[in-house]
């Protein structure tokens, strides 16, 4: 999993080199601006902007497609319902079901926004290592408890995941087949075991932490240095966001 996430995070494109804090703020503001769009005429704009940014990011298309595969299933569910349920103007009939115009437009709106926002999110977190993203958030003011919890949870996530796989393999080797509901209590014990092990490990980890000074006033050197170009890019994105929102307000 980790490999997947940080796989293209070490490339050398301008988006990769963009100061993480500026990137975080700029992209999130743009994402929210896109989420505000309702007018149909702006839909192709946001789609094109997201697509262009993705190309500029140097991330491969295969990466985007693999990340969009599962969420697209959700969209399918919506696609099946909205055109038939929403609106009055009937476009055409499929048997007893009437495909309505408003429903189709709603679907279009949701689909475009969904894909644009997800693409921007993938750019944001795909062009820097996850660890850097969390540190950038800390640099932007995330409370130390949340930052610490995120970092430690991230550190042990994969290990605990591996433990789970090992336990599942061990169960399978002893004949457990996860096919019927009768295995329910075994799964509950599995979950319980994961919790207990993590709990016990956290005790030892805590001891290791205090031995190396956790709880002392710690110094954090300024981890990020924003260059002028980073701030310029941030302002660019903020302006773009403002333009989108204003246009939306004027059109609608």
């Amino acid at each position: 999993m980790q490999l997947q996430l940080d796989r293209y995070a070490y490339l050398e494109t301008p988006l990769h080199r963009w100061d993480p804090r500026c990137k975080l703020v700029g992209m999130m503001v743009l994402i929210f601006a896109f989420s505000y769009v309702r007018d149909l005429r702006l839909l192709p704009v946001i789609l094109v902007v997201s697509g262009a940014m993705y190309v500029y990011s140097g991330l491969p298309l295969s990466f985007l497609l693999s990340r969009l595969r599962l969420p697209a299933l959700f969209l399918l569910a919506v696609a099946v319902i909205l055109p038939f349920a929403s609106g009055q103007t009937v476009l055409f009939q499929i048997g007893p079901l009437a495909v309505k115009e408003e429903g189709c437009l709603d679907l279009l709106r949701i689909a475009v926004k969904f894909f644009s926002i997800l693409t921007l999110g993938i750019i944001l977190f795909g062009t820097m290592p996850f660890l850097t993203a969390v540190k950038a958030m800390r640099g932007l003011g995330l409370p130390y408890i949340l930052a610490d919890m995120t970092l430690f949870a991230y550190r042990y996530l994969f290990e605990i995941g591996d433990d789970l796989k090992a336990m599942q393999t061990a169960m399978r080797l002893r004949g457990f087949r996860n096919k019927k509901l009768s295995g329910f209590s075994t799964l509950a014990s599995l979950a319980g075991t994961i919790l207990v092990r993590s709990f016990e490990q956290s005790d030892r980890v805590f001891k290791a932490m205090i031995l190396r000074g956790y709880g002392q006033p710690a110094s954090f050197k300024d981890e990020f240095q924003a260059r002028t170009i980073d701030v310029v890019a941030l302002l660019l994105l903020l302006s773009a966001a403002a333009v989108v929102v204003t246009t939306e307000l004027l059109l609608y």
Binding site: M1, Q4, L5, M28, I31, F32, S35, Y36, L68, L70, F74, A85, S86, G87, Q88, K100, E102, G103, D106, I110, K113, F114, I117, L118, G121, A133, P143, I145, L146, D148, M149, T150, L151, F152, A153, Y154, Y156, L157, I160, G161, L164, K179, K180, L181, G183, F184, L187, A191, G192, T193, I194, L195, V196, F199, S202, D203, V205, F206, I210, Y214
Partner: protein
């Protein structure tokens, strides 16, 4: 239960961040007031990771399988750390798996997190029957698990109904709600029983886990 990007109005998303921020602020305050705030951090961090991993377990419900939300169980075990844990868990899911959303992180955290805290309170009722009462633990474990998902589901439906395109005709809406509600009843039972079983396992193997902070 995770609302994706693109369907909710921006105002609601921003409002969700505000409520999540408030709930986080309150939780952090409670944590800082406890005896040893730093001690709880490694514990909560590892349990956050553990819960995320536990939610990956497939529960076979023929013909398919489901993943449980486990917010009720999380609330029962983590107490005040439940909200930050859920916020972080949802963040991981949104960034790593595109499950949930970035604009909807706040609202998802609020819905699932607040339900978890309420489930925690429900679970605490078991103490009225004696701290080591296994039957009480089992029953309130079930109630915590079921209510965790029930509250979240109700909140999500209410939100979607009030914010989704107003073009949907009332009849269709009513039927949809009806169907979704009925579909969630077996899920509630599933989460309730699972939570009860895990909680009974914990009280036998590691009762300190259920002390609740």
């Amino acid at each position: 239960m995770h609302i994706p990007d693109g369907i909710l109005p921006t105002a609601v998303c921003l409002g969700g961040y505000a409520t999540a921020g408030a709930a986080t602020w309150y939780s952090l305050r409670k944590i800082n007031q406890s005896e040893n705030p730093r001690e709880g951090i490694p514990r909560a961090s590892l349990l956050t990771a553990a819960f995320l991993v536990a939610s990956w377990v497939h529960i076979p419900v023929p013909p398919a399988s489901v993943h449980l939300l486990l917010n009720g169980l999380l609330g029962a075990v983590l107490g005040f750390y439940a909200f930050p844990a859920i916020l972080i868990g949802l963040f991981f899911q949104a960034v790593m798996f595109q499950h949930g959303g970035l604009t909807t992180l706040g609202i998802n955290a609020t819905i699932i997190g607040v339900s978890a805290i309420l489930a925690h309170l429900v679970f605490q009722i078991r103490k009225l029957f004696g701290p080591d009462n296994r039957t009480a633990t089992g029953i309130f474990g079930f109630l915590a698990g079921a209510s965790g998902i029930a509250l979240a589901a109700v909140a999500v439906f209410a939100l979607l109904v009030t914010t989704i395109p107003a073009n949907i005709d009332v009849e269709a809406e009513r039927t949809a709600i009806g169907i979704l509600t009925i579909a969630h009843i077996p899920l509630m039972l599933l989460e309730g029983v699972f939570t009860a079983l895990v909680v009974l396992f914990l009280i036998r193997v590691k009762p300190e886990l259920l002390e609740g902070k």
